[in-house]
Amino acid sequence: MFTAMLGEAWHAMGANRMRTFLTMLGMMIGVGAVVMMMAIGEGAQQSIKKSISSMGSNLFIVLSGPPNTAGARSATGNALSLNVKDADAIAELDGVAGLAPTTMGSAQVIYAGNNWNTSIIGTTPSYMEIRDWVIYDGYVFSNSDMRSATRVALIGKTVADNLFGDDTDPVGKTIRIKQSPFLVVGVLNPKGQSLDGRDQDDTIIVPLTTAQRKLFGNQVPGSVRMMMVQAESDKAMPQAEEDINNLLRQRHNIREGSDSDFSVRNLTAIANTAAETTRTMALLLGAIASISLLVGGIGIMNIMLVSVTERTREIGIRMAIGARERDILLQFLLEAFVISIVGCVIGILIGVGGAMIVKSFTGTDAVVTTQSITLAFAVAASVGIFFGFYPARKAARLNPIEALRYQ
């Protein structure tokens, strides 16, 4: 019975090919748009996720200098209020998993005939773990390098490419940073872009002490511009932030009500905001695309209503020879359903193809997930049933005598 009706539906669709195709086209465009937009949204989310995980997890930055001061203000991190002892005290706190005092600057780097301007990070070996850096080749400098302020450097992929090219192995070579010779001990595994679009691989990491004494050597000994602090877990972050604030205020003898001479920034919270924003954007894209799906559904309803009117006599014949109301209902519902499902399948192909084209032309990540396809399929099927129901019911409720008389 059901297969017979499916055959009938197919037959009826074939009887008016152009009309069926145009009706399907609405569905195709709708589903295609949904699949494609979801792919773009998903791609954006995935690249954000990648950036976030490349940043390292559960991070704070503690900067010296007040978050805001009255009167003349200098850039945060310039007033050197933090020192190594503060860092040690923070490292002792519950909920703090790791800490890396960091200083930064930029410098011209030279190897043989090549030179390159890049950012130099002076830090401790623990920085590698906190920021999730992995060594591609060579090794990380040690704590004894820290103590003796040796001139060793870890270089990022971009720096390696620009100074050494493809042929030379950078490890073991000596480069010059601000005229001082540094031994390259390792090359970092590439990370790609950061959340704000910077190339994270365009960097050189050197021991903190070396940076302070030999590169940016105008600092109070033992002072720290900033430090990266890693909390033990996501849940430990709010408590850790409060503890760091309290500890530093106490150590710096800041009275209640006065401004701090340092600031704590929750990087993970910033990253999560970015992720949330992308998610909202992805949702918005999907929602806009869904509207075209809705329009496609209305197209189906429209054409089914025409079809019911056109086939009034046929409906009358069917009723006279024993079709029940629900047989007629099912027949027209099935027809709407088949139109939307076939349109949906083609639409998915269009969407996947469109996503691939977008990817190859713009370089934007576009990721088609099975989830989005399942969703598009489910929505299209329900659209078919929903918009097919009213015309089908209209057909089923026809009076057989009047239907038979219809010309």
């Binding site: 037959h11 009826a12 009723m319």
Partner: protein, 235 residues
């Protein structure tokens, strides 16, 4: 129960803007199994309405109608559909075949609604098509055959579910006299096989094929050739 149709005191009103308009007024009729009845009468006499009620396509405003022992007025829409499907075979003036489908599918259509599987459907449809003399046109479309042949297909469709009763509404109205005669001979032979036939016509020579003639006028039966169950003429 030997009556295939038993109609008692049926009234039918149509609601119009001017109020209820009576179409059938106190119609009584019984038809025995195997009977062959021609219903005659001028346009507007109520014979078509009466046929629609007999065919379970319409319900009377008042009165009782028993079809093959079922009291039709008490049945649900689904039960009525089942009766139309299994007990009655319809033949219309305009043939009413589905233009898109071939003859085999047209004839098999009632079986779709009684949930017969596809193989059996086609076997039985083929049998009745052979019976009405169209065995070599199984895959033709209605537009490819003549009017007389189309009416044969319609008769085959009416027969495919082995009904008790065939209701034919002006079955020869669209046919020339020679073809009409052939179609009527087909009805005659079906009646000899024991199928009850009720047909509406306004042609006397067609009506004479039937064993019994019933004449409608102004919503009442004014003449019934069957003496034993004759309805008293309303004065």
């Amino acid at each position: 129960m030997s009556y295939v149709i038993e109609v008692r005191q049926i009234y039918k009103d149509y609601q119009t803007a001017a109020g209820a308009f009576p179409v059938l007024k106190d119609v009584n009729l019984t038809i025995e199994r195997g009977d062959y009845v021609a219903i005659m009468g001028p346009s507007g006499s109520g014979k078509s309405t009466f046929m629609n009620i007999l065919g379970c396509l319409d319900r009377p405003t008042a009165g009782e109608y028993f079809l093959d022992g079922h009291q039709v007025s008490q049945l649900s829409g689904n039960d009525l559909a089942k009766l139309r499907n299994k007990t009655i075979g319809f033949v219309f003036q305009g043939f009413n075949l589905l233009a898109r489908s071939n003859l085999l599918d047209n004839v098999a259509l009632p079986l779709v609604y009684s949930s017969v599987d596809k193989k059996t459907r086609h076997e039985r449809a083929e049998q009745v098509l052979i019976k009405v003399g169209l065995g070599s046109y199984l895959n033709s479309r209605p537009s490819q055959i003549s009017g007389g042949q189309q009416q044969r297909v319609a008769i085959a469709r009416a027969l495919v579910n082995e009904p008790r009763l065939i209701l034919a509404d002006e079955p020869t109205g669209n046919l020339d006299s020679k073809t009409s005669e052939e179609i009527m001979q087909l009805f005659d032979s079906l009646n000899q096989e024991g199928i009850s036939i009720v047909l509406v016509t306004h042609e006397t020579d067609i009506a004479e094929h039937a064993k019994r003639q019933v004449r409608f006028l102004d919503g009442k039966i004014v003449h019934d050739s069957y003496e034993q169950s004759a309805v008293m003429e309303a004065s």
